[in-house]
Symmetry: C2
Subunit: 112 residues, 2 copies
């Protein structure tokens, strides 16, 4: 998978992963792998900065906890994050509809 195709969709992915769950960064990466059937294997250098960005934006919130000597920062969605997720899902549908209208088979569906 080309690297750039993720551009602009990562936020949606992270928000969706946190929908109804509390996860720490590392677990988010694993969840993404699992849910995408292995297609999405995001490096930490992609995910951690993105989570901080979402936190600055007020879409997620986090707390530190120590589990068996390991520091982990657990994230969860805020109310604003929930709303953002709804919008992201809508934007995704619009996006795919637009692309598929073009990619869709054959020269021309209807000659307007």
């Amino acid at each position: 998978m080309k690297p750039d195709v993720l551009r602009g969709h990562l936020d949606a992915l992270l928000l969706a992963t946190l929908d109804g769950r509390r996860l720490h960064g590392y677990a988010i990466i694993e969840a993404l792998q699992l849910r995408s059937g292995g297609a999405l294997d995001l490096p930490t250098g992609t995910v951690y900065p993105a989570l901080r960005r979402l936190e600055r934006a007020g879409y997620v919130s986090s707390e530190w906890s120590t589990v068996s000597g390991r520091q982990r920062r657990t994230y969860h969605l805020t109310k604003a994050g929930q709303r953002a997720l709804v919008q992201e899902r809508t934007a995704w549908r619009e996006f795919t509809a637009a692309i598929e209208g073009v990619l869709g088979e054959g020269p021309w569906p209807a000659q307007a």
Copy 2:
């Protein structure tokens, strides 16, 4: 529509638009608008450099022609471009499958 979501998908869009057609840049932009139901309104500063990139890559080829005093550069797919388009469509399906596996409803489909 956020600007970045197009990232990495523009080539597929352009190749698909030229599939079985000879079009000049301006016409490509209009075709994209039409086929996407108005969702895709790409600026010339996006399309022209992208077309030149595709031409350098050998996926499209172009000739100049003069239509009623106007210079236009008409593009068409090469053999390599045809093959690239097939790959782009496959990549698109894989991409959407991966994203939708994550965005898809609810907390978890199956707790592995």
